[in-house]
């Protein structure tokens, strides 16, 4: 079994109103050096197979087709082999 983590980020040129709003909060707290706050998504799941290539293919397709929208987002992923209880081998 493999554990996958996917990070979906808004592409650099796309407006991120949420990040902008959070940065206003940073200013209110006095973090005046904080710049360009961007908010993305962190997604984790398991892929129930022993075939690493298949696992990687599924993670990639899942990320491309559903977890991200290529018009406005980029994604990166990593996979690690784990045992049935989800612990790293």
């Amino acid at each position: 079994m493999f554990k996958a983590t996917v990070i979906v980020k808004r592409r650099p040129k796309i407006l991120d109103p949420q990040g902008k709003a959070v940065e206003q909060g940073a200013k209110l707290l006095g973090f005046n050096n904080v710049r360009q706050t961007r908010i993305g998504k962190y997604i984790e799941f398991f892929v129930d197979t022993d075939d690493k290539n298949l696992a990687e293919k599924e993670v990639k397709e899942y990320s491309e087709k559903l977890l991200s929208n290529p018009i406005m987002e980029d994604f990166e992923y990593s996979i690690t082999e784990v045992n049935v209880s989800g612990e790293s081998k």
Partner: protein
């Protein structure tokens, strides 16, 4: 021939009954609901993808609904020239499935907007607009993610092909930043595909049909479609 509207119901749709009510009870059109798990469009001539929060808007608005079983049928229907109108969340679903270009971002203000909005009818020669008979209409908007975005090349293409149908404007039809409720590119409120049979719009025409609500411009869009059908 009596044209028929099919209103798709997704889990989380909340303007499906508004659309059904306006089309069937106010405008007296043949109208039927279509559950999102069905593949059969029940002989509909016009498909309405209604507003709401399908699948809780998780991941991105419309991102999961576009994989509902009914959407395979809607996609082929649209590809074969069938008329599809996506309202608000329905517009977002059409963007996600790729029947319309671009994406929807959160409103620039980060606020959910709910108000009556004037729209300039930018393209008056589509089946959705050619019988409207006026240049500016008033229709309510109610959304948190209506900030239409497309890359420069796509924007140029849709503007060049006259695919922009409605723009946020003043009562007089002036298109300026200050009349833009959500930050959308060039005040875009509604667009169609290249073949001009699929339209997505953020404003809610179904909420401006019953005279008791004090506004009826939304009905003009549905009437336009129907008149094109019957003529």
């Amino acid at each position: 021939m009596k044209p028929k509207f099919g209103v798709v119901v997704f889990p989380g749709s909340n303007c499906d009954y508004d659309a059904y009510y306006s089309l069937k009870k106010v405008l007296h059109y043949n109208t039927e609901f279509i559950w999102h798990k069905e593949k059969d469009l029940k002989g509909s001539d016009v498909i309405i993808l209604p507003g709401g929060f399908s699948y809780g808007d998780y991941l991105r608005t419309g991102a999961i609904a576009r994989f509902s079983p009914v959407m395979d049928s809607v996609f082929s229907f649209a590809e074969n020239g069938g008329i599809v109108i996506g309202i608000c969340n329905g517009f977002q679903i059409l963007l996600e499935i790729g029947l319309l270009p671009g994406v929807m971002l959160q409103n620039e203000s980060l606020k959910f907007v709910c108000k009556d909005q004037y729209l300039l009818v930018e393209n008056e020669s589509t089946i959705f607009t050619n019988k409207i008979g006026k240049k500016v209409i008033k229709i309510p908007i109610k959304h948190g993610e209506g900030n239409y975005y497309a890359d420069a090349e796509t924007l140029k293409e849709i503007e060049g092909n006259n695919q922009v149908i409605f723009k946020y404007s003043s009562k007089e039809g002036k298109v300026e930043k200050k009349f833009n409720p959500n930050g959308s590119l060039n005040n875009i409120a509604g667009i169609c595909n290249r073949k001009k049979n699929v339209m997505g719009l953020m404003p809610h025409p179904e909420n401006a049909c019953d005279p008791i609500l004090g506004k009826t411009d939304g009905a003009l869009i549905f009437k336009s479609v129907i008149e094109n059908f019957t003529n």
